[in-house]
């Protein structure tokens, strides 16, 4: 009975919807295309109002609550590259998730990717801004004292590097050679930069008002959010859009933009063909509230512009309207092709992300109307 309810809710809220001038069949085809490609993990409100870690199929179906911890909040999930492990942070129940500090809030937890054998690694605030090495034997961490590479077996620091202005959101490249992050060392806050782990040398990938960088599987390109200057909307500040660039910062391309939507938290699929992202319906609405509808699109379809967005369309006349798959309400998703997250002994699909914020007035992804 409960499972039937979850399926019904899922189909009501998370099924593909047609975009602007985009037939519903395009989204349905995209949903069919990705449904069997492993699992996505994301933080979302449970029906009890706390943040838990959920997994779902990449089309948003078959949602499962992995953590089920009403007394605490879990966020910032991160699959190991082989899909066997899941890293996330656990905050005390009363602590509000801060969009700019979430990587250093609460305690770090390592679990199997199906949620079993969750182990707390250290005290609250320890191992800030962690990112798993490609082989999941180490994590990189970032504090005001530098960048630390920590062995997960012994929890000992193996190496320390000057942080050179990096201050948020480390991500370890799939080839193991680089870290990306948000840096303030290029004349502006919120540049996206990379650091050579062997030498400690850093270079900017894109400057000014960028965040949430993550790697493509080839380790040569990054996905990130950027608020390009000169948009003219939103009191002159414009909106944050999803972009990609080569890691040397020589070329960049718009991936997704939508006026009225703060698009960020991009995560490229393990085969490099798709991208997941989050998008606030207001400037700071995700962690402070209950997340926002996530989305999925093919990178081959980029650039896509959602909604009416006349200003950004004028700047990108060749952009497409879709297809964009609307996903459950959540925050900063990640993706593995492994089947492990869905294989939890003794459990089937239980619970679902809270749909109440949606019904309280948050709008569905405009590009998917």
């Amino acid at each position: 009975m409960k499972r039937a309810t979850v399926v019904l809710v899922s189909s009501l809220f998370f099924s593909p919807m047609p975009g602007r001038g985009m037939p519903a069949s395009s989204e349905a085809e995209l949903a069919r295309e990705v449904r069997g490609k492993g699992w996505i993990a994301f933080a979302a409100h449970s029906s009890l109002g706390d943040w838990d870690i959920f997994v779902a199929r990449p089309d948003g179906s078959d949602i499962r609550n992995l953590t089920n911890t009403p007394a605490s909040n879990e966020a910032s999930p991160q699959f190991s590259r082989d899909g066997r492990k899941l890293l996330y942070r656990r905050l005390a129940g009363g602590e509000k998730i801060d969009d700019n500090r979430h990587g250093e809030q609460g305690a770090l937890v390592m679990a199997n990717s199906n949620g079993t054998e969750a182990t707390v690694l250290g005290q609250p605030g320890e191992y800030p801004w962690p990112s798993l090495s490609p082989d999941a034997t180490k994590i990189s961490c970032l504090s005001i004292k530098g960048v630390f590479l920590v062995d997960l077996g012994s929890m000992k620091t193996l190496n320390t590097l000057p942080r050179k202005g990096f201050f948020q959101q480390l991500a370890w490249s799939p080839d193991g050679r680089w870290l990306s992050g948000v840096a303030n060392s290029y004349g502006t806050g919120w540049s996206v930069a990379r650091m050579n782990i062997a030498t400690g040398e850093t270079s900017a990938v894109n400057r000014v008002d960028c965040c949430t960088p993550d790697w493509f599987p080839d380790s040569r390109n990054l996905i990130f959010s950027w608020r390009p200057p000169g948009q003219g909307t939103n009191k002159g500040y414009g909106w944050t859009q999803l972009w990609r660039a080569d890691a040397e910062g020589k070329t960049r391309q718009l991936v997704y933009a939508e006026d009225g939507r703060h698009v960020y938290g991009g995560h490229v699929s393990p085969d490099g063909l798709y991208v997941l992202f989050t998008g606030n319906m207001k400037e700071d609405g995700d962690p402070g509230n209950a997340g926002a509808p996530m989305a999925l699109m093919r990178l081959a379809d980029a650039p896509i512009i959602g909604g009416e967005s006349p200003a950004v369309r004028k700047l990108n006349p060749g952009a497409k309207n879709g297809p964009v798959l609307k996903l459950p309400q959540g925050w900063e998703p990640c993706w593995t092709f492994s089947e492990t997250p869905g294989n939890r002994p003794g459990r089937t699909g239980v619970d679902s992300p809270d749909s109440r914020p949606w019904s309280r007035g948050l709008q569905p992804l405009r590009g998917s109307r």
Binding site: D98, I144, R163, N184, G187, T188, G189, W190, H262
Partner: protein
Amino acid sequence: MIQTALNRNGMIVAMFLGLSCLCVSCGRGGGDSAVTGVDPQVTARGTVEVTARLTEIPEGAIFERELYDYTTILKYTVLRVHRGKVQGETIYVGHYNPFKRRSEASDQRVKDIGGDLSRFQAGQVHRMALEAPIDDYFMGGIVNKYFGQSTEPIYWAVWTNLAGE
């Protein structure tokens, strides 16, 4: 009862002192450190203490926007060094969320800053308690309109009092 106890000269002195206090408080941030900017915080915090003139506020260096907590680097001409050492007459100082009153600037991320300055204006003289380099004390967005212009360490403003317009 009190008035009857004061003689005529005493009343004149009291009125003069009262007016003086009013004039001083009109022209400053609102603390007790008028003119010199001295208070127990600025003289005790940080490892460097200076009185310096804010040279300018570059366009776009101070703004208020949702989502963004940031530090802006401002350029000063040093007038006097009270504690510690600084090199040269010009220093660059990072102020956290400079659109806020210094007394309201501390938050969950940056807990230990303050002062009586209400608003940054070019030409003001500030008495500041400082630390350096900024990277040892602040981890967040930095707006630096002077990027690449100096190789000297950037200071971190711990306490900022107004010491003159």
